[in-house]
Symmetry: C2
DNA sequence: GTAACTGCAAAATATTTGCATCCTT
DNA sequence: AAGGATGCAAATATTTTGCAGTTAC
């Protein structure tokens, strides 16, 4: 049951289990894709405060439950991390896809980011790859 | 002379040559790297209005004079486009590098984004690659 | 019982819009 | 002269902070 999974996820990350956190985590689990702050507010209905959403996302981010996906429109998306990246230690080597038709953002778990050769003097820490286009569901 | 170059750039893109636009374009030309909205405000001093900066960046973006670089911190950076991407038709196939030490963002013109294979059903339109780490100047 | 989480109020920031005026062409 | 660009004022929207009340452990 999802309820169980949610509780486990929170406990595993040393977070107390509260209504707001459960609700937000549930949204992420239901949705196969990324959510922006405003997506969450909208989907959660009038359930809880804006501020709680900010704080919850921040804590989830710190604990490594979710990761953020950069965008060009000043509205960062967040997506659930997979098992192996809890504790702030991310294994974010997958590609993010943004659909221009439906607006959804998804993590392409199967597609990994190819290595690149940087100019002399540069050292890489993290690499993000962002593809926009038309997704599977819209591409008919 | 830079003055000339600035005028030409504006004219080439069918924009009238005004003080604000010249100033902002000058900032981009001086700086080898990307600028955020607030960078521009800061560097321009008290020269002109916030609103002018918003509108100018928007126009430059539409005309293809600059391109935007996504970030994870709700502060989009903008960088000058090279010759061949005016008219909203971008040739943005280079990698962007964000230095965690000095905070600068630069376009690695020499490094091009490797092709990737998307899952069946997805079609790509644009690809962004964002590397963070330590840049040449800070890596000593 | 205690520490942590939440909601509310309010402050601080950031972005957008309308309009009158000024500047470029 | 005409159209577009700018500055100012103000409306909106977004994010942060402090604090008091509530809840999880």
């Amino acid at each position: 049951m999802m309820e169980k999974k949610i509780d486990e996820l929170l406990k595993k990350n040393h977070l107390s289990v509260t209504g707001g956190r459960k609700k937000i985590l549930e949204l992420f689990l239901q949705q196969e894709g990324a959510l922006s702050h405003s997506d969450i507010e909208r989907k959660a209905g009038e359930k809880f405060d804006r501020v709680t959403v900010y704080r919850t996302l921040q804590v989830f981010l710190e604990k490594g439950l979710i990761h953020s996906i950069p965008t060009s429109d000043n509205s960062i998306r967040y997506a659930l991390c997979k098992e192996d990246c809890s504790g702030g230690h991310h294994h974010d080597d997958h590609v993010h896809f943004i659909c221009n038709t439906c607006g959804n953002t998804v993590c392409l778990e199967g597609v990994s980011i190819p290595a690149i050769r940087l100019p002399r003097g540069y050292s890489a820490d993290q690499v993000e790859m962002l593809v926009s286009g038309v997704c599977k569901s819209c591409n008919i």
